[in-house]
Symmetry: C2
Subunit: 431 residues, 2 copies
């Protein structure tokens, strides 16, 4: 893959700087509408965004791409069903925009409005006690636009895996290979289902986006998210890649955030349900939530869904999903997810193993069933995707915050110092 | 492009033979569910269908591909809007399946049921006086499945172009270059808007699917429908290809069915509306019809919609569209298309020029505004797409027949000898 601005930004940034925009990539000037990407009938040659030259993943082009994923990649629909969308009661609180808060280091003071712009927000929606109290769209985003959720996808399928565990269809203590014998010669051979869901398989797979030799870049090439080079000889598709992964550490001895685990989780869901993950998600969740639009998911060249990060959905539908999780699985007049599956997430994962992974912006957190768990005094837990995507659930404040973004840097450690205090300021205010 | 079974079939077939299936490609055995294409979690290696090796367009794989286009190609949605689907009254007439009829040559007798199987039907829906009287799905098709419509797409955008003409936004007698100066050095330089819509531009572009050197194969490569070879140096995208087309005959002197004309029509629609054709179709038609699902359309690598053949939609939504055309543009309680635009199609195009093109199964027909017009005693006119797609409108019988198919041969002259008499048998019976 070509070295992009993204990598340059990653490599050059040591200290979070969204508070002051000192990273030299202006969040206002990078607005994709202002920049004119893919505008015009047809767009001017220098305003075209393509998959084949990787320009879709360069910054600032990705500010357009993240909201137009199906226009660049093969995708499969998650059908919404035939019923009308569930009603969202909108009671906008205009004061939220002006709420002041201090960044994590205590050195800067910002308003919510300013922070949202500074962190390259594409959309945000805050639900409090089931009412929409704040909702905003930026750049090319509209309420109808489906935005890529990146690793928020993991959490959506994590809750489905946890559900299958509660139903007894999936044994958390069984070896992965009991369901997927194809992995018996891989680094997954000794890992359990639960270790896959908790990112404790110990396989050799670096997700350090700043390292061009990290396995994550081979992985997205295998999955055809990035074009394969002409002489590409590597594994074809996510599952064939997973078969080649080796073991680095003993399963259960380490927390290591690795996207390949989430695709193995997707594979497990498919194997035990004998359905595509799109169909499982449609039948169990999407058709019941009363969503406004089909979601869709990115596919590899073999038609396998990218359960590790390929889900695209609207802001409001992500809010419905988050609110359903906050309400212990009850939504739109029915039980969608069993409470026990959500409780299993809320209890969290191994805090000691998590601490060793060195997430400086997430002290005291853990990881369970493909969700991030804060263990804070509000019981916050979250789905988190690169470039700033999130479903932030605060049970104590009865609040769900969902957000799509296209920050230039993949790692969320870059925006956490602004966003985590901002989310807390909002929930504190609403309580 | 690799030579496929499809080409072999094309080259070997001189006489239509669907009546007896003597073409050696069994329509029952080629059922994609029976064959197991893309089934399994994941599918077995020899059951995977890919874009990159062109297997998606080989027969019998295309019987799966035509119903899963977004899983192979980049696509853009045609949003259905927020309202509920318009109600379809279903009054199935079980006798239709057993209707007997004779093939065009009078040599074979078939029932509708048998003919539908023999011609590789994927779905069929017959509306009579607004009621669904016959509806059936085969292979991988369901009422929710969106199937590629191929050149039925042209007619959908043809009616939009005719609408813009009625509204005075597009001058049928103006040169194409008045709207698209980019074509001034191409074979379109002297052609008018109406000549584009009537396939009378006289540009050099062969659509003979049996000729591997026909321009249509360069065109689909330029549009990235088929993978571009590693050393591809040709034009990138449909519009850049159109710029390179030269003139073969004087505009207006010839009817020559050429897909590039339809994409120039799409370009015209985009230019005068300053919107994507997806958005025009969504706002003017899809959001008003009360469809059941978003449609979607295939894109080239520059994000241009394939107005020449890339629309994918459900069977029922295609029926709604056809019924709206039959009802002079009135549907779901509103005017969707002006009657004058539909009248312009019904009057037909130049029959003498059409006759010279040698369509043996379409004697006395003509072509107007990207629609096929029979000039028969029922006033039949139709949208027609390769491999058997159609919207067949019989005003006198107050009947609309829509059909998706995946016959092994692209050219509809192969199945017309069975299907055109079958459609007439159905409408005669319903009258």
């Amino acid at each position: 893959m070509k070295k992009s601005l993204l990598f340059s930004a990653l490599l050059s940034v040591a200290v979070p700087s969204f508070a002051t925009n000192s990273d030299g990539v202006d969040p206002i000037k990078s607005d994709p509408v202002l920049q004119g990407w893919m505008q015009g009938q047809p767009p001017a040659a220098d305003k075209v965004i393509r998959k084949q030259d990787n320009s879709f993943y360069h910054f600032p082009q990705l500010r357009w791409s993240f909201a137009h994923w199906s226009e660049l990649q093969p995708t499969s629909s998650i059908w919404q069903g035939t019923s009308l969308p569930s009603k969202l009661t909108v009671k906008i609180n205009t004061k939220i925009k002006q709420l002041p808060f201090e960044t994590m280091d205590g050195k800067s003071s910002l308003t919510v409005e300013k922070a949202l712009v500074n962190t390259y927000t594409d959309s945000i929606l805050v639900m409090h006690k089931g009412n929409v109290v704040f909702e905003d769209y930026y750049g090319v985003m509209t309420p109808q636009t489906r935005h890529i959720a990146w690793s928020v996808t993991k959490s959506v399928f994590g809750i489905l895996a946890a559900t299958l565990i509660q139903e007894g269809q999936l044994d958390p203590n069984a070896k992965v290979t009991q369901y997927i014998p194809e992995l018996k010669n891989s680094g997954f051979a000794d890992a359990t289902v639960q270790q896959v869901l908790d990112m404790q398989t110990g396989v050799k797979f670096s997700e350090n986006y700043a390292d061009p030799k990290a396995e994550i870049w081979d992985y997205v090439k295998a999955g055809s998210l990035f074009p394969q080079p002409e002489n590409y000889k590597g594994p074809q598709g996510f599952y064939n890649y997973a078969k080649t992964v080796t073991s680095a550490q003993k399963p259960g001895s380490v927390f290591n955030y690795q996207t390949v685990n989430a695709d193995v989780a997707g594979w497990l869901i498919r194997r035990v349900t004998n359905q595509s993950v799109s169909k499982v998600l449609s039948e169990r969740v999407w058709q019941k939530l009363g969503v406004e639009r089909d979601a869709y998911i990115s596919l590899d060249s073999e038609g396998n869904e990218f359960a590790g990060g390929g889900l695209n959905l609207t802001t409001r539908d992500m809010a419905r999903f988050g609110e359903m999780i906050r309400l212990d699985g009850q939504y739109n007049g029915q039980t969608i997810i069993p409470k026990a599956a959500i409780d299993d997430i809320k209890q969290g994962g191994d805090k000691a193993l998590f601490a060793k992974a060195g997430y400086q912006t997430l002290p005291g957190w853990s990881y369970r069933d493909l969700w991030w768990v804060s263990h804070d005094d509000h019981g916050v837990f979250a789905a988190r995707g690169v470039h700033g995507q999130t479903i932030y659930i605060d049970p104590k404040a009865e609040t769900v915050i969902v957000r799509f973004a296209s920050q230039p840097v993949a790692a969320n450690s870059k925006s956490d110092p602004v966003l985590l205090p901002m989310y807390r300021a909002i929930t504190n205010y609403l309580m």
